[in-house]
Amino acid sequence: MDTENIRNFCIIAHIDHGKSTLADRILETTGTVDPRNMTAQFLDQMDLEKERGITIKGKAVRMTFHENGEVYQLNLIDTPGHVDFGYEVSRALAACEGAILVVDASQGIQAQTLANAYLALGHDLMILPVLNKIDLPFADPERIGSEMVQLFGFDSDEIVLTSAKEGIGISDVLSSIVKNIPPPKGDPKEPLKALIFDSSYDPYKGVIAYVRIFQGSIASGTRIKMMGSNSEVDAIEVGVFRPNLEDTGMLTAGEVGYIATGLKTVRECRVGDTITTSSNGSYEELPGYNPQKLVVFAGLYPSEGESYQSLREALEKLQLNDAALSFEPENSQALGFGFRCGFLGPLHMEIVQERLEREYNLELIATSPSVAYKAIAQNGEELTIANPSEMPHPGQLNKILEPWLLATIITPSRYIGSIMELMTNKRGNYKRIEYLTQVNAQGDSSDPAYDARVLLEFELPLAELIIDFYDQIKTRSQGYASLDYDMIDYKEGALVKLDVMLNGKVVDALSFIVHKDKSYALGRNLVNKLKDVIPRQMFEVAIQAALGSRIIARETIRPLRKNVLAKCYGGDITRKRKLLEKQAEGKKRLKTVGQVEVPQEAFLALLNNQK
């Protein structure tokens, strides 16, 4: 197809503003998915996505669209809206010429609306503004539309009004795509340059590179080279997403599709790399991506009775479908052999853990998440500490640095005070405030939606964000405020390592790093929390929190004295055995530390500690 008739675009928005639902309507209108097979958020195919109603992984799909006697090839990429997955959005943007910016007509502009719109502008993309959910009773397209005009400088008649749910305005969106998004450039006769913007894994076809062809073309069977990793393989299949893989044998400049590589690991086929042909290939790589920033780290360990080896295999397989996941073997005295894993954020961590448990049938113990600290030793040596128990002894340390971020919060003005207070508790530094819109005098003044909309910027330690920050923002603003953040740099902090001991033995997996001023309160809380979650054992258990050798809190769990079954009635031994089996099964969820059986919740007590 002539590149003139190709349009490559992604859909971006704040979480839940209706990207995937809009994609549904576009899939329907273009006849890509048979209406009989249509399900809500069709592209969210993972069980977890369906259950949680959020998009976790970006999806590409090729569509054919007829307008004014012309046939267009549309390549759509649906992106996730959650802040943890901002990196996915930027990868998708690099494969497109345009982006549909969806805004919920009742909620208005939120933190990821801004963040993603700026990302798209940074990639020089054509942005098509869409106001969605106009069917909602509280939708106020006029007011929100004018916010968009004010903030992004759109023309008010550029904005397309839709209800993705009711199928209103869909053909206007399609027309706007065809009319306004520029066709891709790139000469099919030049040497091949294909950007890997995502990847997945298929047991038969190996690693599947999702590519945008910037120039040249590729046919299946061609020997290809991944320029960054310098590895070469035969392209065993070349095709497009409809949305399932469809073998087309060929991709040419301007198109989006896939190349099946047959590779068994992602090492040789990294997202962001450029694919070219082995012979007469390009000498020049595409810009690729900035490395993603891992935000949180946590140890993942097999539960009692599960093997380290199967956890390793599961992580390797999952990584094939989740390029952001990173892991390294580590060893804990308390938990044995496991992995220190890096995640894009708390949600990503939760999802990885859940996928490992479900898709690979594992039972895991996860430690509380931590950020990566930098420890500067007396001799000037710098260490990165992603696992608190590895923090060197204070005597050997010159200083500890911790990562900071710039948080952007968009909120109705009435919640400013409460959010400021939260920021103070979280060691944040106020940077600036901006009134995005003025108070709407016509509106009902008891309704926060008519408040002035305010953007607040704070700098704050990342460690404060990964624990219970997001929930707090939501609670303090009755759900109205939204948050986006970017890592900035490392700053020195008055940080100490707090250890937890069970019957006098330090449990390394429970150690954590905390600001000096908060250490006493946290230690006390944690010890109380542990007392609640650790079941009574057959002996007394002392729980202590310590800073170095100084004990700052202590609790005791009295020994268990009784665990009996009811009367065995009428010889029903089977039922008795089943009850015992169930108890035994429950014990598998426990990790034996020393002699003490500790449940998973204990290792996450820190996470729930401050609620």
Partner: protein, 369 residues
């Protein structure tokens, strides 16, 4: 319906006696469900069927379960007449408030009266069932119940701790927070108290929750705990044959109908199960084939309940394996936790729960499932 039910029982007893080839029967227990539905007359009929179909031991222990509010002189006489020589009565508590909480129809006075009626009728083997660890129950209330029971001087006492087992109403109430969870430590103290009082009154604590005067241990319960074989008849009854456990359908109507489906003349000359397996399967709701591993595991979790413990020699005889070969690790870990102990008797070794292990029985059994 009751008549039909009794007929079905008779037929089921007969059918199984053919299948298992008329072995010797040492104990019979009438109970489960609502025991008072069955009249003494029916019991007499059923015992007749049993003695015609099996080799019923002359000194067999034949127990009837009975509710305190069903006891009359006549009833007891009739029961004794039909062959009953032991009665087990669900007393639970001698405090009327807790009887109410447990949903019992009787009060404490009914218990005393019933007990005296049975005694005066001349029955000399009475069991009283008690339950402790109830929500809101204080130790002195429990002590009071125990004292009164000892005054009655029954031959046998069982005392079970209330457990919140999955699916029970009480558990549900605790889960949704309308009832307080019973205090485990207090329950442990109640157990200790029961042990002390009964022991000094001359009872032997022959199983975790059972006490008997000398020679009055319940043979029927011992059969369960020694993992021996038994047949259960009627709706919802459980049976254990070598390598097989099964449970009958629980609805009495279904039970009656599926017994009817067994052809009358077909089984009389049956010499193995296969002939009319499909018909028998209609009566069975669920079954489970037990391999050797599971039989050993059952032998452990049942046998360890007994004060006399598990004899290494018996285990070896039964399974051809040394106990330590199979469970060496578990046993030594549990010994370290002071939950199990091994003691020598003549040439033999015996494995049993320690004092501490008795109330933590589950922690021990868990290691053997």
């Amino acid at each position: 319906m009751i008549d039909e039910y009794v007929e079905s029982l008779q037929k089921e007893i007969y059918v199984w006696s053919k299948i298992v080839k008329n072995p010797k029967v040492k104990t019979v227990f009438f109970g489960g469900g609502t025991p008072s539905y069955i009249k003494a007359n029916d019991i007499s009929l059923l015992l007749k069927t049993i003695s015609q179909s099996f080799m019923l031991d002359e000194s067999a222990e034949i127990t009837a379960e009975i509710n305190p509010d069903d006891v009359t002189f006549n009833k007891i006489y009739e029961l004794m007449d039909s062959g009953i020589n032991r009665v087990s009565m669900g007393v639970q508590s001698l405090d009327d408030r807790f009887l109410k909480l447990l949903g019992r129809r009787h009060n404490s006075k009914d218990v005393i009266t019933a007990y005296e009626v049975i005694r005066n009728a001349g029955l000399n083997n009475i069991n009283l069932d008690l339950i402790y660890g109830l929500p809101y129950q204080k130790i002195n209330i429990w002590e009071n119940t125990v004292n009164k029971i000892i005054d009655l001087n029954p031959e046998h006492v069982s005392g079970y701790c209330l457990t919140l087992e999955p699916g029970t109403f009480l558990r549900h109430q605790v889960e949704i927070g309308v009832r307080k969870k019973p205090d485990d430590d207090l329950a442990a103290d109640m157990y200790r108290l029961l042990c002390e009082k009964l022991n000094s009154a001359g009872y032997l604590n022959y199983e975790i929750s059972n006490w008997a005067k000398k020679g009055k241990q319940s043979l029927h319960n011992l059969c369960y705990w020694k993992n021996n074989i038994y047949l259960g008849f009627g709706a919802g009854a459980h049976s254990h044959l070598p390598g097989l456990r099964y449970e009958n359908v629980s609805s009495p109507v279904k039970y009656i109908n599926s017994i009817k489906n067994i052809e009358d003349n077909n089984y009389s000359d049956a010499d193995d199960l296969t002939n009319f397996r499909d018909q028998i399967l209609g009566v069975i709701k669920d079954f489970e084939l037990n391999d050797k591993q599971m039989q050993m595991s059952d032998t452990m979790i049942l046998g360890l309940r007994l004060t006399e413990g598990i004899y290494y020699s018996e285990f070896r005889q039964r399974f051809g394996l040394n106990l330590d070969e199979i469970y060496g690790n578990e046993i030594s870990n549990l010994k370290e936790l002071d939950l199990l102990e091994v003691y020598k008797l003549n040439e033999d070794s015996i494995l049993r729960l320690t004092e501490k292990g008795r109330l933590l029985g589950n922690e021990v059994f868990l290691k053997f499932v």
